[in-house]
């Protein structure tokens, strides 16, 4: 007896990926949908949580992947690449452009970077008239002028702005805002300042002024805006962040023969993403660690950069070990161009009269995002210093709601999350999880890439995407004992779990630690008291709903009912040739892992009039052997029961494809067999009863509906 609360209540824990994502995207949900081949539904979930997933799909630094618990088992799930797969698969579908103006108050967004884009999007959805002011001739902020085209194609950014415009956002390009007062005078009731951090930091060494030395962000901006600065043959890049790597790889593409990155710390301390560094190395960029330039001399149109070697000393305030120069280790480096990419700061017009914090950034209240001036909010790199795209999107979203609060004279209340975040996997659990190698998306080979600015990373194929998505452990969406009172402590769950997760706690009660449960569903189906449920409501309801659907709207005589694994078969298309309605009399019930199919469900299928029932698992792709084992036992039990009623054992079968078996062939044989048995029984019944076959086979004729 399940109460309504538990039938629909989301009792999952927040997975670590979602917790780490600044946008708190429902990663577990969309990855699972991809794994089932339900890409459009996955895309819907993605777009509900992220207004510009196409951008993140290319350049997100994926804190979700760093937090992904699969990484404790083998490698993290390639979430970003999967998101890209879904976004590219869906194209323009699932894109929301509905927005109507319901409010009078105009809001100005200063800066068209990701924070500004997100803020404009959500403000527009809330019904506000929004204007984005962008100083450059092209919108997008760092997306447009910072990130190179081979990482984020221009069209993608442009498409998003087209959409914002279609939504009714006003975009004023080549319009530099120099005074916030002016904006207020123009009638804007609130302003979101998100001008980014584009001012390159200086090394502060002798010789830095002058030809041949260029600021990294400026360099990238020029290239992105279409210029091709000549760099000469030997280029050096000072810095260790993504800007430095972007600059180095861009230099290669502009024809530099030798590019070296000079970083004052070691490879472990480098903040740039590993994937970027790896690709840069593949393309031929050299990395000089523990090196810093001391001064720059010029000799015959070339730069003579005197560098000094460093060693790592005590940690500084950022927690990283401070580099300390090694006495007497100076050496010269002959370069044509030196790109300085050691960080950026915002260029804040004085007239804004905003309070400044550390690193020339704007100071804001962390909850309301308000600055010292009423009605003026700020976010993005301008507040945090150079950060990531997804953080900017997240703050832009928050800012929209904070502005909404402000304009409604509401006190901003920080959102409280009631659900817990999932904890760590224990080594014992990790040891039991089958290792599956990560499928990385394909990349262009380095020789091809460096010739031009074409996108480096390609998108997954269907099979690759599904295979990778299946590695997700579904953290926090496992099983729980929901009725302590009806649990008889029979220890069945403890004994049948392939991962040895359920255990007796200190007071002798059985509990299923949510952090360790792998959501296989075996204990749920085996619990003799039926007190274990899956935390995710869709998982709980799936089979019952499908059977109800079959009962009400299905054919009056579904000859064969098949419970098919959504992951391996239905999703990847082997069985998708068999449709939902009767195609050759086979009615498919898709299940997200057939391990959840209980013996009673199988009986129910017969009860609904099926002459034959099969279960098709995903076979050798299943991440555990026990699923097939338990299904086999349940099927045996049903077979025995049927036998006692005089129904032949061949009427129920388990298919676990693999070992070169062709499932469709097997199914055809099974169908024929069942049809034969049905006819034979008809003959017997006719001789015995002389009655309508439908009645004789357990379908009350009043249930039949016209198809």
């Amino acid at each position: 007896m399940r109460t309504k609360v538990t039938a629909y209540q989301d009792r999952t824990l927040i997975p670590s990926c979602q917790a780490a994502c600044p946008l708190h995207m429902r990663i577990r949900e969309y990855v699972d949908l991809i794994a089932q081949g339900r890409i459009m539904e996955a895309l819907k979930v993605i777009r509900e949580d992220n207004p510009f997933p196409s951008i993140c799909a290319h350049v997100c630094t994926h804190p979700c992947e760093e937090a992904c618990r699969r990484g404790n088992v083998d490698k993290p799930v390639a979430i970003r690449a999967l998101k890209r797969f879904a976004v590219e698969f869906g194209g323009d579908r699932m894109v929301e452009i509905e927005a109507e103006t319901r409010r009078k108050e105009k809001v100005a967004v200063v800066g068209s970077g990701p924070a500004g884009m997100a803020c404009a999007y959500y403000l527009r959805r809330l019904g506000y008239p929004v204007t984005i002011f962008e100083a450059h001739s092209e919108p997008g902020g760092m997306l447009r002028v910072g990130i190179p085209r081979y990482r984020l194609p221009r069209e993608i950014v442009q498409r998003e702005f087209d959409r914002l415009i279609r939504m009714g956002v006003e975009l004023r390009l080549s319009t530099r805002v120099v005074s916030l007062d002016l904006l207020f005078q123009m009638g804007y009731k609130a302003i979101f300042v998100t001008i980014g951090a584009h001012q390159g930091l200086r090394l502060g060494i002798e010789g830095e002024e002058g030809p041949g030395v260029v600021d990294g962000a400026t360099f990238l901006r020029e290239v992105n805006l279409g210029f091709r600065p000549s760099l000469g043959e030997k280029v050096g890049v000072v810095g260790g962040g993504n800007v430095a790597i972007d600059a180095a790889r861009t230099a290669l593409r502009l024809g530099a023969k030798e590019v070296r990155v000079l970083y004052r710390r070691g490879p472990e301390e480098m903040p740039a993403s590993e994937a970027e560094v790896h690709q840069a190395k593949e393309e031929g960029v050299q990395f000089d660690y523990l090196v810093a330039p001391l001064r720059i001399e010029r000799e015959r149109n070339k730069l003579k950069v005197i560098c000094i070697r460093m060693k790592l000393g005590e940690p500084d305030s950022s927690g990283r070990r401070r580099p300390v120069p090694i006495e007497g280790s100076e050496f010269p480096l002959m370069l044509d161009t030196l790109i300085v990419a050691i960080g950026q700061a915002p260029q804040l017009p004085e007239d804004f009269r905003l309070r400044i914090g550390k690193g020339a950034t704007i100071h804001v209240d962390p909850v309301s995002l308000a600055t010292n001036r009423p009605g003026v909010f700020a976010g993005g790199d301008a507040v945090t210093g150079p950060a990531t795209v997804v953080e900017a999107l997240a703050v832009g979203k928050r800012a929209a709601f904070r502005i909404d609060d402000y304009l409604n004279h509401r006190y901003p209340v920080p959102e409280k999350e009631v659900r817990q975040v999932v904890g760590d996997l224990l080594p014992e659990t990790i040891a039991m999880i089958r290792k599956i190698s990560r499928v990385d998306p394909p990349y262009l080979p380095p020789e091809v890439r460096v010739k031009e600015f074409i996108p480096v990373e390609m998108v997954y194929s269907w099979d690759e995407a599904i295979k990778e998505a299946r590695r997700c452990l579904k953290c926090g969406a496992g099983a729980e004992i929901f009725s302590r009172d009806r649990c008889a402590s029979c220890l069945t769950c403890l004994r049948v779990c392939p991962y040895h997760v359920p255990r007796l706690n200190g007071t002798g009660e059985v509990e299923i630690p949510a952090d360790q449960c792998q959501a296989c569903g075996i204990c749920v189906a085996q619990c003799p008291a039926k007190v274990i449920i899956l935390r995710k409501p869709q998982d709980r309801r799936q089979i019952e709903e499908e059977l109800n659907h079959l009962a009400r709207y299905g054919p009056s005589k579904p000859m064969i009912v098949g419970f098919c694994c959504q992951y391996g078969l239905y999703g990847t298309g082997v069985l998708s040739g068999l449709y939902r309605e009767k195609k050759a009399g086979v009615y498919i019930i898709p299940v997200a892992c057939v391990g959840k199919v209980e013996a009673e469900h199988l009986l129910e299928a017969f009860s609904l009039g099926a002459e034959g029932v099969f279960v098709a698992g995903c076979g050798d792709q299943c991440s555990r052997e026990d699923t097939a084992l338990w299904l086999g036992r349940r099927i045996e039990k049903v077979r025995e029961s049927l036998g006692e009623m005089g129904l032949e054992p061949e009427r129920i079968k388990l298919f676990m494809p693999g070992e070169g078996r062709d499932l469709l062939v097997d199914l055809r044989d099974f169908s024929q067999k069942v049809a034969g048995l049905y006819l034979a029984s008809l003959v017997r019944q006719e001789v015995k009863h002389d009655s309508c076959p439908t009645e004789a086979f357990g379908r009350d004729p009043t249930h039949d509906r016209p198809l």
Partner: protein
């Protein structure tokens, strides 16, 4: 744990044949633990009986319900509202439950759905073995905690007989000879002299009612 096995479907069908509205009553304690009559078994049996019933053109309506226990009158009180239109109760409780129901509802036929088999324990999932004969004169202290009554096929107290081969009982090659087990464990405990003692014939008298004072 009381351990039982569900009766064959055929037998159950015959038992319920004369009745139209049948309550299938599960038990949430022993029968859940041994997998013979908990809530899941009630659901499964209901479906199976429905299918079987229709095939034989029988009209039954089944009312499934599970009580935490059937062997206490207070639990049975919970049924009074639910049995108004019920013609018979097919209970998946042990023999105790069947009798408790029959006593409490003397006008209702109570049908046993399981065969109560023994007092035993699970060795691993799905394997239950008899352990206790409820003989009323526990002498497990003398036999190193191994019961010669349940585990020796002949139930003798001065064992072994000449039957064991390879430490296995003459009756069932899979079954250990209890007395060989007792010997080994007494040896391990350094108490072999217990086995050298003469054990007089069993006293088969035991109480049929037990009273508690506090």
């Amino acid at each position: 744990m009381i351990v039982a096995q569900q009766k064959p479907l055929e037998e159950i069908l015959r038992m319920i044949d004369p009745y139209e509205r049948v309550m299938i009553l599960g038990c949430g304690t022993c029968m859940t633990v041994c997998g013979a009559g908990g809530e899941r078994e009630v659901a499964f049996l209901q479906k199976a009986l429905e299918i079987a019933g229709r095939r034989q053109e029988e009209k039954h309506t089944f009312i499934p319900y599970t009580l935490k226990r059937q062997c206490d009158p207070e639990f049975l009180d919970l049924l009074t509202d639910r049995i108004e239109d019920v013609d018979a109760i097919l209970t998946l409780g042990c023999g105790i439950g069947v009798q408790a129901l029959a006593e409490r509802f003397p006008d209702l036929p109570i049908l046993p759905g399981v065969d109560t088999s023994f007092l035993g324990m699970a060795r691993e999932w799905g394997v239950w073995d008899e352990r206790c004969a409820a003989c009323g004169h526990c002498l497990l202290g003398e036999t190193a905690g191994i019961c010669p009554i349940t585990r020796c096929a002949k139930g003798i107290l001065n064992g072994p007989c000449a039957g064991p081969k390879g430490g296995k009982c003459e009756v069932d090659g899979e079954r250990d000879c209890a007395w060989v087990l007792i010997y080994r464990r007494l040896e391990r405990l350094g108490q072999l002299d217990k086995m050298r003692r003469f054990y007089p014939p069993r006293n088969f008298e035991r109480p049929k009612r037990i009273l508690r004072r506090t």
